[in-house]
Amino acid sequence: MSDGSSFYITTPIFYVNDVPHIGHAYTEVASDVLARWHRQAGDPTWFLTGTDEHGQKILRTATANGVTPKEWADRLVETAWQPLLQTIDISNDDFIRTTDARHEVNVQLFLQRLFDAGYIYTGDYEGAYCVGCEEYKQPGDLIDGTGPYEGQQVCAIHSIPVELLQERNYFFRMSDFTQPLLDLYESNPDFIQPESVRNEIIAFVKRGLTDLSISRQSFDWGVKVPWDDSHVVYVWFDALLNYITAAGYGYDDEKFARLWPATHIVGKDIARFHAVIWPAMLMAAGIEVPKQVFGHGWLLVGGEKMSKSKLTGIAPNQITDTFGSDAFRYYFMSAINFGQDGSFSWEDLSARYQAELANGFGNLASRVVAMVTRYFDGVIPDPGESEAADERVRTIERRVVDDADAAIERLAIHEALSSIWELVDELNGYITAQEPWALAKKPELLDRLQTVLFTAVRGVGTLAVLLSPVIPEATGTLWQALGGVGEITDVPLRTAYHWETDGKVWPLEPLFPRIENIEGSGGPAARE
């Protein structure tokens, strides 16, 4: 988006009854890095996240806890979801809840428009209903009964026979959109990414779409169907609409025109809802389809088989308490190719923290600041004549800015980081080769020492700017130490190398301190 057009990015809205875990945090961090990057590059940026709060289960847990479903959701948003965003330093511009009036009212508006346009019809829904669960069960949820229920299908949870129930439902004519969707995927190959997810979805749609039941009568914690308030809107239909109701659909046309269409970051398991149902709904309503649906991979625990290892039930603070939020963000963005499944382990996290953040980047910043302090009293020296090595640093500095930006454009966050790390490695190599500590011993080489430290400071500042979307805390600290002018987040990212300093550096504590119990030799966790 180097053209300065708007960048509207979303995460899925999280089911409010879930417990936040590393998987949620991963999606949030990736979206946040993209949002911060675009924001700092000067693109008008809007980053939306939120919670999905309707449905039978929420009603049931709320009742069990003696509160209304809205009070229950309020509690979870406050005690679980907002704290998650703080734990991992998320910079969302908006937080939509499906119980917001702006959402509920405009879901109804959307539905009414679809109804008026003839895309909704009345039909009968037949399914196996479990009174214990109070919901329709899929065939896979049923098992063969035993004992008194021999020969009947029973609910796997309650072990009681299910009833075949029929209810009047409203259906969305999704089947009308089989061909228009295939045309969309064909004409806009980037609409679904990565390629593996795209292929899977095309194959699915090619088999033909069926109409979608979009209302339920069996419970009432949801958005009421506008022309028939004995029905509530199917939760997925309701949830998907958050992306437009948050953006002004139905109540702020100017805002909606400015923000829409969005880039949706989702886990690949729900890519189908976003790349099939959602664009079909939008087409039916005459609204532009999303800019892109990107299905990222799963986190796997190191060394385990695929089938067993979708194990992300770990609370993010288990990691941030020890390593900090920057390390969490950096690790998951650099260690895993965004879009593919990625394996992670505590040992890998520890090793990369030490090698890349502490020894690679943090140590570089500390050394450069310390040398300017020692040799020039903290005043960043003016450069003398450049040599080839200095030019090489400057060339790489410019190139990695372009490379990283191009990678972010492709949502290849890991590639952006590996480009930026070329500059980390280059600067570390440059300092080793130039040996400023040796130059400092020879007064006749003062000019050379000035050039080397000037070049190094410029490079470190460029790194700070480039890394600020990924590790905002450490780069904010470094920015202070470099005497950076203004807020680091205001420095235009695509010309990071033009960053400005007031000319003086300040002492810098280690950005990524040593973690004592990393090798399992120390005492309890650092938090104690």
């Binding site: 417990v19 069990a64 288990q318 382990s345 119990n517 966790a525």
Partner: protein, 305 residues
């Protein structure tokens, strides 16, 4: 019993045991909690106070414990020590083998009333251990008392929104039937999980937690390891049940929370996973079940030796 007395019970001696505490294991990188321990019971040659137990535990990456009572006296002790010790939360209950004893004495209702009051106190995070034990209890009257006590405890857990720790010995199907009949508390833990893969599947379907003790390291415990393999990771917990059930390689010697790394590492090894990631998972689970150990402040002065 008050003033933070170090222990109030002594384990029955049995012949031929090595009564010295094992040495400290290598510390865990990622800390865990011992979600079921009895620090009121003195065992071994050296008497350790709960503070010494917890200091040893801290030094090897065991962040805290749930101290579990089994009768009126030990439940009171647990609730009180939790009020002076930040690394301890309490569970209170009448053990299924104690319920018939109270019943016989005609004091079961009084004892249940004491537990019900303790359940409302700060830093009491669970009702437990309660459940059914057909190994040590038999006879119609005794079993009736056991059922009555179990159901009363389930109600207390639900009323106070507390977790519940279940003692299930040779009574799997009756425990499940009771939970289904009266409705299980939202956070239900099978303490010292003793079932097979089939029971693990039932727990998984119902969202019940499975807490593995040192028994999972025992040579003859293949059924437990099979259960461990099918248990969803987000339902796993780990415990010592100290001073009992010391994990291999120190089986038979006195158990203590600081020995939990053996159990955790054995579980990780059996699952073919990284011990640190398993620990992070289990710690997340533990805090979901009992809340944060810092959620409610300690209010009593700490015990001094």
């Amino acid at each position: 019993m008050t003033d933070g007395s170090p222990t109030i019970r002594k384990r029955e001696p049995s012949a031929g045991r090595d009564l010295t505490y094992p040495p400290l294991p290598q510390a865990l990188t990622v800390p865990v909690y011992d979600n079921h321990t009895h620090l009121e019971v003195q065992d071994g040659d050296d008497s350790l106070s709960y503070r010494e137990h917890l200091d040893r535990a801290s030094s090897v990456g065991v962040r805290g414990v749930v101290q579990v009572g089994g009768d009126v006296e030990t439940s009171r002790w647990s609730a009180e020590q939790a009020l002076r010790e930040p690394r301890m939360l309490a569970a209170v209950a009448l053990h299924p083998n104690e319920a018939p004893v109270y019943d016989e004495a005609g004091t079961l209702d009084d004892a249940l009333a004491v537990i019900a009051e303790l359940a409302t106190r700060p830093r009491v995070a669970a009702i437990g251990e309660t459940g059914l034990d057909f190994f040590r209890t038999s006879g119609e009257k005794a079993l009736a008392a056991q059922y009555r006590s179990f159901e009363a405890h389930i109600e207390m857990a639900k009323e106070n929104n507390l977790a519940m720790q279940i003692h299930d010995r040779d009574a799997h199907s009756e425990v499940i039937a009771t939970l289904k009949r009266v409705g299980a508390p939202e956070r239900t833990v099978f303490h010292c999980f003793s079932g097979d893969a089939e029971l693990a599947r039932v727990c998984a379907e119902n969202g019940w937690y499975m807490s593995f003790a040192g028994t999972v390291t025992f040579k003859n415990a293949d059924n437990l390891r099979e259960a461990l393999a099918v248990a969803p990771r987000n339902l796993l917990l780990v415990e010592t049940d100290a001073p009992f059930l010391t994990p291999v390689p120190h089986r038979g010697r006195p158990n203590a929370p600081y020995l939990i790394p053996y159990t955790l590492r054995a579980m990780a090894e059996y699952l073919g996973t990284d011990a640190s990631m398993l620990a992070a998972q289990i710690t997340s689970n533990t805090e979901l079940v009992y809340g944060s150990w810092n959620a409610e402040p300690v209010v009593l002065p700490s015990y001094t030796d």
